[in-house]
Amino acid sequence: MSELEFSLLIFLGSLLAGGVGALTGLGGGVILVPLLVLGFKVDLHYALGASLISVIATSSGAASAYVREGYSNLRIGMFLEVATTLGALLGAHLVGILPKSWVATVFGVALLYSAFQSFQDRYKDGQPSTVPSDPLAVRLRMESTYPTPQGLQPYTVHRVLGGFSLMGVAGMLSGLLGIGSGAVKVLAMERVMGLPYKVSTTTSNFMIGVTAAASAGVYLSRGYIDPLLAMPVMLGVFLGSLLGARILSKAAPGRLRLLFVGVIALLGVQMIYQGLRGGL
């Protein structure tokens, strides 16, 4: 295949990955890596490098829209970044050490987990907690408000240290797999720290870019980031996520999630199969 054809095809694939990523709130990386590895026969290391770049593009691109609406919590995000950046550094170092088949298998498991998570989230709740905040959260002034149809709604923050440790795991997965691991981040904030769903997803979106930047240096110096591959990926994912965010307001989210669950569960099974068989 010529460079031009290859770039165009990757661009179209990334457009799709970015669009679906934005629509489902899981980011593009989780679709991009299997697409590159299984669809385009790209070596896993190159795919991880390109995916990492796509993660930063979507995170930074979407963040400007989210912050204007006043959902994301800068203090919580920055505090939890301490755990995710350290985890990411560790994970990025492990890529060069762990065998490829292991990384593929872990990726497959992460996909299946994301599918399960999305499936559970298909009927999103929204009960504000009435229990007072964790004293640490109060000391760090993490409590804040977020916009709802009824006006600004204050919220409380719980189990800060529990969320913090889970974020370390999220960071490690991100460095190891070149993904944003948004699903784990949202889980840590929503389920463990008790934050409202929209605060969790938008703060997670902000954090994803910073976490990915922490592994980017290691990826670059090891030669995982190929400019010719990353070029169509970055441009495609970025455009795709802008389009996806536009469609989001009109689409039926329940059906979208269900479609997404099916697709990534299938990809997850395939990644695990390839990883265990050693076909990568």
């Binding site: 990915a212 995982y224 400019p227 441009l235």
Partner: protein, 119 residues
């Protein structure tokens, strides 16, 4: 400055960073495809990028000589630097709020990021 105003400022910074990085990547990509578009590509075997594309200084040197691949790589590095810049700006803004704890936390995050990029 309130947290809210900070967020808006930081959000705009992110958007600007992505747009500039995207433009550089697109420019380098077009140059590359015009000159080498018909060459074959194969990513099925991992060889790793050549040394000139692996570090900040060598990428900069290549970009100054307007080598297309190096230009793309500069665009990608600009993209990576955008969240780093956002963290750096947060340090100043927390300092302005006289929030010593968060200045410390943010400086720590910035330190880890810079350490990873300097590797």
């Amino acid at each position: 400055m309130t947290d809210r105003k900070m967020e808006i400022l930081l959000g705009n910074l992110l958007r600007l960073g992505v747009l500039v990085a995207g433009a550089v990547v697109l420019g380098g990509g077009l140059l590359e495809l015009i000159s080498h578009g018909s060459q074959g590509v194969d990513y099925s075997v991992f060889r790793g990028e050549p040394a000139s594309l692996r570090s900040l200084t060598s990428v900069l040197q290549g970009a100054v000589a307007t080598k297309p691949k190096h230009l793309i790589q500069i665009g990608l590095l600009l993209l990576v630097l955008t969240p780093v810049l956002r963290v750096a700006l947060s340090v100043l803004l927390f300092a302005q709020q006289r929030d010593g704890t968060f200045v410390g936390i943010t400086l720590w995050v910035l330190g880890v990021l810079l350490y990873s990029l300097a590797l």
